[in-house]
Structures are given as structure tokens and as C-alpha cells.
Symmetry: C2
Subunit: 145 residues, 2 copies
Amino acid sequence: MSKYTEFFKALSDEKRLKVFLLLLNEQKGFYVCEIADAISETHYNTSKYLKELRLAGFIKEKKLGRGVLYSAVEPEDDFLKNMFEAMRSIRHDYIDENIKIIRKRVKLRVDDKCIMNISKFNQNNLKKNQQEVRNGRKIRKMERA
Amino acid sequence: MSKYTEFFKALSDEKRLKVFLLLLNEQKGFYVCEIADAISETHYNTSKYLKELRLAGFIKEKKLGRGVLYSAVEPEDDFLKNMFEAMRSIRHDYIDENIKIIRKRVKLRVDDKCIMNISKFNQNNLKKNQQEVRNGRKIRKMERA
DNA sequence: TGCTCATATGCGTATATTAGCATATATTTA
DNA sequence: TAAATATATGCTAATATACGCATATGAGCA
């Protein structure tokens, strides 16, 4: 398969396309579990989507602790550059809802790291919870020292 | 499926992509049998590809006699416009060979109509053959009058 | 009217893709 | 060291896609 058909194929699936559009509008990148939440998909399928997008040359990964931060690549050739640019003309209402979700999701990070099992948090005492996680770690660290 | 994924899906196949690229560089359009030859595909599969591209909003058809002339649409929205433009940055060597073939093939038209079973022509007496077809028709027409 | 030509399409099968599950890996925390 | 966490992957069944063939359609031509 040529690199061109590979390109189009990677984007021919609703969820893969959305994953890429999320990353296209993002500088720092997102964690797998954040993306999974934003597109309402399981972590393992999301992981597979990300792998396909990476192999097709759209995105890159950066391992941080036990998490992996994904972000769009800097397009090197004309084709990719022009395609990325053209994709920015996809109507906002196609992806807006997913962006909203992931923005919320990013705020749930504890010390810049993403928490996977977000269902155990409840929306009301979320900030308290984040603080507790942080405090708990700090105390345990001090106790060890 | 959204119109976006439909777009990418239509181009995710080598031959469909080539069919569209042929038409993207062409004003007047090509006949089905010409395209079939240019991509080395059967007429029925080529016809199916053209149908998919048409349903995805890339190309339009125009019936002329018993032939059908296909050509790229004038892109109406920003997405399509930018995408078509981006696709022009696909390297020439990807499609050059096919363009050569179709250019040759177009020259074989008799009175602007495409001849499907081109194998019955041989390259040496081709022009003679075209002239014969034209003369034969002219004579029969005169005889009827 | 029947025949040929250019194109289209329905159908059955071959092939590819996908999703879900179980499990693996790697890293951090207890 | 063991347990938990975030992510990845191999396997299998379900589903989708593509191809070849036979045949249909519809417009000229004999």
C-alpha cells in the first residue's frame, strides 16, 4: 500500500479520525486514557487506534512514567503539511463535544499525570480528591525520609 | 458514517485514489473504459470505483450516447476545496504512468467517443482503423439518405 | 427488429478489518 | 517484594469489503 492510501485509510474510521483531530488541535499532547474517555472507547481499542495513526506517520508518542503522551507530528513533506492544513477546515461541531470532554478530563490530572479509572472519582468532591492524592503522596514520602 | 470518514474511505484504496487523481487533473473528463485501461482494471470494477467516488461527492457523470464521461466536481465547501488542493501535492511519479496511458487512450477516440475493445486495434494501423470507422459510418449514412 | 457496444449491478465467495477478551509489559506505589 | 496502574498486544469471532462472474440496461447500429 502506498503512503497515500495508508494516510487515507488511517482516517477512514470515525474514531481514528476523531483521535487525530483531537491531537491536531493540541500542543502538549494527551494521555491514552484521556483520549479513550473523549471518544467513548475502551483503552485497548484506543491504544490500537493510536498505534495505527503512529504507523501511518500522523502522531508521535512520549513515555512519561507509566503513561504515554501522544501528539501530532510536525509534518515534514508537502503532502502531509497540506493535508493537516486542509483538515483544519473540518467543521468544529464535528469534534467540539469531544474536545469539551477531553479538556475536562485533562483538568483531572494529578501532578500532570492522568488518572485512568476516573469513574471512582465523583464530580462533586473531585478537587478534594485530587488534593488528597497529592497530600497522601507527600506525607508518605516524608515518612520514608 | 460522517461525510469526512466517507471522504477518506473512498480514497483509501490504491485504484480508487488513482481514478480520482486522473480526474482531478482533467477538465473534460474520461470515459469508463479509458480509466479502466489506465489503471489496469476490469470495466465492471472500474465502474464500481466510479460509483463510490460519485456517492462520496468527488466526481460527477455525464451520459453521452452509450458512453459515460466522468469528471471531478467543482468543490463547494471549504473542506473539499482544501482537500482537493492538498491532493495536488501528491508526487507526480505516483500517477504519471497512468496519465501517460490515458492520454494515449484518449487519442484512440473516434469522433470524441471512446472505443472499449481497444485490443482489437493494433498500434501500427491504428489511425487507418479510426479513419475506416469514420468513413464506414459516413458511407452508410449517405446510403440511407 | 435484432445486434452490438459501453456501462452498471446483483450475487456468492474470498479476503480484510474490527471489537472484545484475556493477558502481557513496564512503571510506580504500598 | 508485592500490588496497583497505564498501556499494549495476541487471539478469535463477528463483520465489512472487495473481486469475479453472470447478467441487466440502455443507447446506437445493421
